[in-house]
């Protein structure tokens, strides 16, 4: 066997004959361009013809070969094998195993068929039927589904509560039908009953979808917007937050002096290397003022001049995520006007939710109102430091030692929402004395997003509990994240479970702590 053989661990199980599942390990010679399907074919031909797996088109078009590859559901025919990197292949979860990597989708299709997954017309159309181009745009975006069930297997909410939440594939189909003008069924009501407000918008489904279908964005949030119009949404628990934004421009009620009332409009530094605007977001302004101060401290230590526009207001993420579109649009205008007035081209936020909303949702709205995108660029705090300032240009010498074992939780709206995964880890690792432990499933949703924490508390806490298990198992003294929502959620669940001694910080908290050692 050549040296660059791939080591493959495969789940094996025949319920008819095996007491329990087990793993077999095979060595498969590496060839250029090899995909996981090649590996399976090789095993079947050269080692064991009894290995069961499905495949058909081998071109990512039929959805037969979804399986869990190194922890993530993937299409085997579209997953490139990396030379020298071992592979672990297991069947999709949520479905009973027929044999080895073959599962029975009956559970899923039964559920799917219940929603009447077809266009229901009241009368036959004219032939030919005139359908305007504009009318099909929204449907086409979510039409490419190849029913591979990868999303359902990966969705954390399905994992916790499939009975209540029909899952991404089915919500996509409901949206596909609702957005199709020819259909006459009550799709939104069905979606509501099937858990429309259970989705945390964590985008795990998008990440694993071989067709990259943006189910939370193009299906769930669109359906929520219609639900709001039809008076079904938002949920009771979400209403106070929405009303608060309407009333005060903040999604939470004032408890102590807000950050914005404690800081000047501009924080100048000697010989600045850059100039940015700081967007606090609701939680940093009203609840986690210390995190705000810490972020400002870190920026100061790196000689960055900061503007803090006082006219800023909620990014309206709760409104966007729960479908309250009009309010969301008002907030966009308020914020864009306040930020553009400064004439600063870089805006940073340490809230994953705010930064994602400003990056992904704002431009579409300003295109509608101003016919252009905002004239500044939005950065997450860690992204800004690592990519804009440059990790080698950061003030490292003033970072004091912190003796602590830490792990990191990826906020969904930072990792999948903005593609920022390495930067926070890089910053954490800069701090002397820190032992970094990667927890299992660091990118698993904590359950706070999408209005689930406010609207569906028990489900949200169930998701958080799952997250907490991994944090606890990691043995870390502290868990670091980069999102106030995640922070509060994780802190709550650790308290609830009696693990208050595990600290929860945002990246700037930890960095400021290190800088403060060298005052």
């Amino acid at each position: 066997m050549p040296e660059d053989a791939v080591q493959v661990k495969v789940f094996r199980y025949n319920p008819d004959t095996d007491k329990e599942p087990h793993y077999e390990t095979y060595k498969v010679p590496y060839t250029q361009g090899m995909v996981v399907l090649d590996v399976l074919n090789y095993i079947s031909e050269h080692y064991d013809g009894s290995l069961a797996y499905r495949w058909a088109c081998r071109a990512g078009q039929c959805g037969s070969c979804a399986m869990i590859i190194n922890g993530k559901p993937r299409a085997a025919c579209r997953t490139l094998v990396e030379k020298g990197k071992p592979l672990t292949i297991t069947p999709l979860v949520q479905f009973p195993v027929v044999k080895d990597l073959v599962v029975d989708y009956e559970r899923g299709t039964r559920r799917l068929v219940k929603i009447k997954p077809y266009v229901q017309r009241l009368k036959s159309p004219s032939r030919p039927e005139i359908i305007s181009k504009e009318d099909i745009v929204d449907v086409k975006e979510i039409r490419g589904c190849i029913e591979c069930w990868a999303c359902v297997s990966a969705c954390p909410v399905v994992g916790e509560a499939w009975q209540e939440f029909a899952g991404p594939l089915i919500h996509r189909q409901l949206a596909r039908l609702k957005l199709d003008k020819r259909d006459t069924e009550e799709r939104v009501k069905t979606a509501f009953i099937e858990g429309l407000y259970d989705c945390t918008t964590c985008k795990t489904c998008v990440e694993v979808c071989p067709k990259k279908i943006d189910i939370p964005g193009k299906a769930i949030e669109k359906m929520r917007a219609i639900a709001v119009k039809e008076g079904l949404g938002p949920l009771e628990g979400q209403k106070p937050f929405i009303e608060a934004i309407e009333r005060t421009g903040r999604s939470v009620e004032r408890q102590s002096t807000p950050l914005l009332e404690q800081v000047p409009d501009v924080i100048d530094v000697d010989d600045p290397i850059d100039e940015v605007a700081f967007f606090t977001g609701c939680l940093v302004d009203y609840r986690l003022q210390s995190t705000g101060f810490n972020a400002l401290e870190v920026l100061k230590r790196n000689r960055i001049k900061v503007h803090i526009p006082k006219a800023q207001s909620s990014c309206a993420s709760p409104a966007f995520r729960s479908g309250v579109v009009d309010l969301a649009h008002q907030q966009v205008k308020k914020n864009v006007d306040a930020l553009e007035k400064l004439g600063i081209t870089k805006v940073i936020s340490l809230c994953a939710g705010c930064a994602m909303t400003m990056k992904n949702d704002f431009p579409a709205v300003t295109k509608k109102i101003y016919n252009r995108e905002p004239n500044y660029k939005v950065y997450d705090f860690t992204e800004y430091l690592v990519r804009e300032v440059g990790i080698d240009k950061l003030n490292i010498k003033d970072l004091g030692e912190i003796k602590m074992k830490v792990t990191y939780h990826d906020p969904c709206h930072l990792n999948r929402g903005q593609g920022i995964h390495d930067e926070p880890r890089q910053l954490i690792k800069l701090i002397p004395g820190i032992t970094f432990i990667e927890m299992e499933e660091a990118d698993r949703c904590c359950g706070s997003g999408g209005g689930v924490r406010t609207g569906r508390r028990p489900l949200s806490m169930a998701l958080a509990r799952r997250k907490a298990e991994f944090i606890i198992k990691s043995g870390a003294d502290a868990v670091i994240t980069e999102c106030p929502f995640c922070l509060i959620q994780i802190r709550d669940i650790l308290n609830q479970l009696g693990y208050q001694h595990i600290q929860v910080y945002n990246v700037p908290d930890l960095m400021a702590m290190a800088y403060n050692k060298t005052k």
């Binding site: 025949n14 008819d16 004959t17 060839t31 250029q32 361009g33 090899m34 995909v35 399907l37 090649d38 074919n41 079947s44 064991d48 013809g49 009894s50 069961a52 499905r54 495949w55 058909a56 088109c57 081998r58 071109a59 990512g60 078009q61 039929c62 959805g63 037969s64 025919c77 579209r78 490139l80 027929v98 044999k99 080895d100 073959v102 029975d104 989708y105 799917l112 068929v113 997954p117 077809y118 266009v119 017309r121 036959s124 159309p125 030919p128 039927e129 005139i130 359908i131 305007s132 181009k133 099909i136 449907v139 086409k140 039409r143 490419g144 589904c145 190849i146 029913e147 199709d180 259909d183």
Partner: protein, 565 residues
């Protein structure tokens, strides 16, 4: 071996475009319908079609009509199509596309909200309707939605091993359930065969794994007559690596956007084959050019030629060829920076089970539609006609089968045929050593590629026929599987597939040997010219007294005839 017997009115074998459409139509006639497929519902080969489906809506080119489409199809088919069938295809395609839209399909639109149509090879007007580059998928998803609305008994992952036939009448089929491995017997008043193509008999093919051509073999053994089996379409550009992707289609669009074909020396070799049209010459010309370069040693390391778009600006590639960009990125090739490697790939079987205008086969109670049926496409199929074929003849098959079922009583099946299948399974499971099915499969696929491929000669075809006969006699009785349990035993299913593949291979090779001329997709190096005087005809194949017999018969002509015929 015990087995379960399932009674139904109409049994549909195959859930691709044709089978699904047939099942819907049959269900419309208020009969019980059972739909079987090798794979899960919605995943049939039809979902891979990208380009589009032909119908003369004349939405963008007003002069188009069915008669022009008829003529294009027959000229494209090198004149040996059954003209009665072509007339039906071209007259009814529009209606069938409108059916799909009624079910919920979404084809791309013109500014006026009509179905958009694009140009396709060898067609006078723009008549190919499409849904981006996923037309087959759009059709398959729609049909799946519609099947789920209907009362159709869908039985996924059932492999049909044989048809039950007696006295020239089909009474149902025998199958194996993948999930449990148990034998299933289907008793049906009418049976529709919609089992798709058989590209998998070739080493390099664009077809899905399931396209082993079982239908051709089971129909043949049941006594059906088949025709045009020598007509195999090769697409000029398929992927060459990795192994699992070998043959995967690289769309004509790549050359349409300016992709250049080069050999290992960097030479634009099309200069030597068709200096005028270069890369955009006809499919068969380009396929033969690519094959020649490779055969004569000017191919790449992986046995292909280069298809290069690196001279195009990256954004053009990203905008216009997104699927191809992705398809190659998946296997680690960035086509913006490096050339693709491509080679011809077996794409479509024009031949198949003989049907009449009602999609009836030569056996009573048996219907066929889609790629499995022969006669519609003659010696070469136009792009976009296959999908239309599935809908037009799928509907006809469903309708006529339902009507036949309504006036028939439940047949009494011959249980001895079931016993035979059961014995075959146990013999194979019990055999302790021998040849594993994939070994024979690989050998046959290579043989077909080398000797019954793009270029054919009498000598090589002879050799192929002989080799096939030897494999049948020597290898089949030694088939052996590692897995001795019945649950999801892929290898066991493969033993049936390989037996079928040998039957089709024999049909293709023998018909190719008999046709001593070149026509359409069939190219004989020893008879490079088209011979309308002797070969304006179809070759029919039927099992008679256990023997494969080939007969040359006149083409069914209604209006058009080639020169010299």
């Amino acid at each position: 071996m015990t087995y379960e017997t399932i009674d139904t009115d109409v049994l549909v074998i195959g859930a691709g475009g044709a089978g699904a459409r047939a099942a819907i139509e049959a269900a419309n006639h208020n009969v019980m319908v059972t739909l079987l497929s090798k794979e899960l519902l919605g995943k049939a080969h039809t979902c891979m079609a990208e380009g589009g489906v032909n119908a003369t809506f004349a939405n963008v080119d007003p002069p188009d009509n069915w008669e022009v489409h008829f003529k294009d199809t027959i000229e494209g088919g090198a004149w040996i199509n059954n003209q009665k069938l072509v007339e039906i295809l071209t007259r009814e395609a529009c209606d069938r596309i409108m059916d799909l839209e009624e079910y919920g399909a979404i084809f791309d639109r013109t500014p006026e909200g009509k179905i958009m149509q694009r140009p396709f090879g060898k067609q006078t007007y723009r008549r190919t309707c499409y849904a981006a580059d996923r037309t087959g998928h759009e059709m398959m998803v729609t049909l799946t939605e519609e099947i789920r609305r209907r009362d159709v008994d869908v039985m996924e992952e059932v492999f049909v091993t044989n048809l039950l036939a007696k006295d020239n009448q089909v009474q149902g089929a025998v199958g194996i359930s993948f999930k449990t491995g148990s034998l299933l017997v289907f008793k049906a008043k009418a049976t529709i065969l919609a089992s798709g193509g058989g590209g998998r008999v070739y080493k390099i093919t664009s077809n899905a794994a399931q396209d082993t051509g079982d239908g051709y073999a089971v129909a043949y053994h049941a006594g059906c007559r088949l025709l045009d089996m020598e007509m195999v379409q090769f697409h000029p550009t398929g992927m060459v690596f990795p192994e699992s992707h070998r043959g995967c289609l690289v769309t004509e669009g790549v050359r349409g956007e300016g992709g250049l074909l080069k050999n290992i020396k960097g030479e634009r070799f099309m200069q030597r084959y068709d200096a005028k049209r270069m890369e955009l010459a006809g499919r068969d010309v380009v396929a033969r050019a690519n094959a020649t370069e490779i055969l004569e040693g000017r191919g790449t390391e992986h046995g292909g030629v280069y298809l290069d778009v690196t001279h195009l600006p990256p954004h053009i590639i990203e905008e216009r060829l997104p699927t191809m960009l992705e398809q190659f990125l998946d296997v680690g090739v960035d086509i913006r920076k490096e050339p693709m490697e491509v080679a011809p790939t077996a794409h479509h079987l024009m031949g198949g089970v003989e049907i009449n205008e009602n999609a009836e086969t030569t056996l009573k109670g048996m219907y066929a539609a889609g790629e499995i049926a022969g006669g519609v496409h003659g010696g070469n199929r136009l792009g976009g006609n296959a999908l239309a074929d599935t809908q037009v003849f799928g509907k006809r098959a469903g309708e006529n089968a339902a009507m036949f079922a309504k006036k028939s009583s439940m047949p009494i099946i011959d249980r001895s045929q079931v016993e035979k299948e059961a014995n075959k399974i146990s013999t194979i499971l019990e055999r302790k050593e021998g040849i594993r099915p994939h070994e024979i499969k690989n050998r046959l696929q290579t043989l077909m590629w080398d000797k019954v491929g793009i270029f054919r000669t009498g000598q090589e075809l002879q050799e192929a026929v002989q080799a096939i006969e030897e494999m049948k006699a020597k290898d089949l009785p030694r088939l052996f599987v590692m897995d001795k349990h019945t649950r999801y035993n892929k290898e066991l299913i493969e033993t049936f597939e390989i037996e079928n593949m040998l039957t089709i291979a024999e049909m293709i090779a023998k018909a190719a040997l008999m046709r001593e001329e070149s026509r359409g997709a069939h190219f004989r190096k020893d008879f490079p010219k088209t011979d309308n005087k002797n070969w304006f005809a179809n070759i029919y194949i039927q099992k008679k007294m256990g023997q494969m017999t080939l007969t040359k018969l006149p083409v069914v002509v209604t209006t058009l005839k080639p020169e010299g015929a």
